[in-house]
Amino acid sequence: MAGASVSPTPLLKDELDIVIPTIRNLDFLEMWRPFFQQYHLIIVQDGDPSKVIKVPEGFDYELYNRNDINRILGPKASCISFKDSACRCFGYMVSKKKYIYTIDDDCFVAKNPSGEEINALEQHIKNLLSPSTPFFYNTLYDPYREGADFVRGYPFSLREGVPTAVSHGLWLNIPDYDAPTQLVKPRERNTRYVDAVLTIPKGTLFPMCGMNLAFNRELIGPAMYFGLMGDGQPIGRYDDMWAGWCIKVICDHLGLGVKTGLPYIWHSKASNPFVNLKKEYKGIYWQEELIPFFQSATLPKDCTTVQECYIELSKQVKAKLGKVDDYFLKLADAMVTWIEAWDELNLSGGDSAKLANGVGKLAI
């Protein structure tokens, strides 16, 4: 085993979709072309559906705007946010692939400390295809990485690990700070490349950022609902946070793993902190209630599928968070609608209703 050559990471090009929400343009794809061109893209166009979003030549894609979402989901489209990148979860729902990678349109290829361009997708695939270790912390980080292993004292019975459901990547340059932190530290840039991947331990919550995120759709897809944000909603910029808390509770319950760390992408655009503050404002107060809720949430043993777990969670949201704000009653209902829509599109073969807008492939 010592000195063995590492087998190349599989491309998974027929098993992975890249989901990109956009309201502006997709120019950023040019930089990603060497890494993304072999994959199928699902573009979720937010905002004005009459605007034409040009996809760079040579990419294989489906594109959905608001009209498509409304047509495909009918009344259930109410669970998909408008004027917020949370709409991206529609892309998860319509995908037919095993894995999803989602990235924001202001994220570019970063360089590692040696100056090499980082193939973020390849690293996410490595993370997803190797086990996680949520039950006991390994001080040398991901033991399955080349050059690492389990340390002394790590029980052998736990060394097989569990399947990895989520791979959470990070960002160089503009860090993912909230509005107050952005206002206090407008010039701070993340320049520290931390060469680690690690499993977030069972029972521990984390703030999941949707900018550079991959997951196993078969293992956890139905729980990746990004909530009700944006237009007509009292809150924004908590879509990925909400999904992150839900998936972590469910992963902990089902014995699945969540990794964080590499890969890095280069985040180029700092959004306006005053605009952000208005969007996040309620969230900053609400999260003080939400965190204890999720920290103490338990799911009954008979919830064995992701959908069952998610529906159960929605009931608990309704029962316990309704008193924080009526918004959570709406959100709990939307969580149920989401699962219904997911199952309709994914379980019963109701695909004939789908027709992507634009030039993209007919999605079967």
Partner: protein, 352 residues
Amino acid sequence: MAQVSIPDSEVDIVIGAVQSDLASFMEEWRPIFSRYHLIIVKDPDLKDELKVPGGFNVNVYTKSDIDRVVGSSSTTVLFSGYSCRYFGYLMSRKKYIISVDDDCFPARDNKGDIIDIVAQHVSNLTTPATPFFFNTLYDPYRKGADFVRGYPFSLRHGVSCALSCGLWLNLADYDAPTQALKPGHRNSRYVDAVLTVPARTMMPVSGINIGFDRELVGPALFPAMRLAAEGKFRWETVEDIWCGMCVKVVCDHMGTGVKSGLPYVWREERGDAVESLKKEWEGVKLMEEVVPFFQSLRLSKAAVSAEECVVEMAVAVEERLGPVDPVFARAADAMVNWIKLWKVAGTRSAVA
């Protein structure tokens, strides 16, 4: 975040001497260690004279000192081999203790600079830990980092950090089977991070490179888990793994934090993993029982101090693990005796 500056007089560096010639070890560490007070404890089983170069502010403890404090019948039981350093922890009266194995040397960071492990451990211990929610940008108190979006504001003041676990370049702290299977395997990855190990998450604490707040958790670091075939190589011990889990339970109970990551030391080759493998895999087998026990261990509200926590843990060890293997019953005894010893010899009023 402004770094708190700690006077050097609040730090003790404790070295357990498992080998007698410390000359090259001390010379390599001189630029970093010389400003601090050092405590060197000689393994009572070592026959040769200890070689310590001059120019250090150092107290050396040998078998006769240990005998005087604990009685000669207990000396070998408690303090032989790697466990000799615990005598140094007992004798120290400083707030912060930094301890490294005597086969470790200063490492270089990814910029090529020598790593000052004392400064890094002290920094880890004097900035808050964040055990209740994971920060994806690691230690938010480090320069150039902060809490990320979605991190609850009420948790941003953090808690006191009681233990700082460093890492190792070159010879990592693998167990004998792993190192024997990959004899050429060396750790060359410098991970530029410190992070808090979340509450209720158990971890294997390696005693090779640690720092701790003696006031907060001193009583909870003790020599208790001695393998029947414990030897003079790290592959043949689990004493640090055991007390690391005890410390983690104590910290989780008392609401203090444990950090892991920087600083790195350079660990030299010593011993033969295959040779160590030939000895009984006692430690490896015991871990299978140990981990579930600690993961489910909860202390009562009545346990307020570290001493009280340890006494309660000892009872639980005796009751739940004692029947499994005599080594656990012995460990429980050792824990109880340690607290008695700590009260007599380890507290401020005791004369060193």
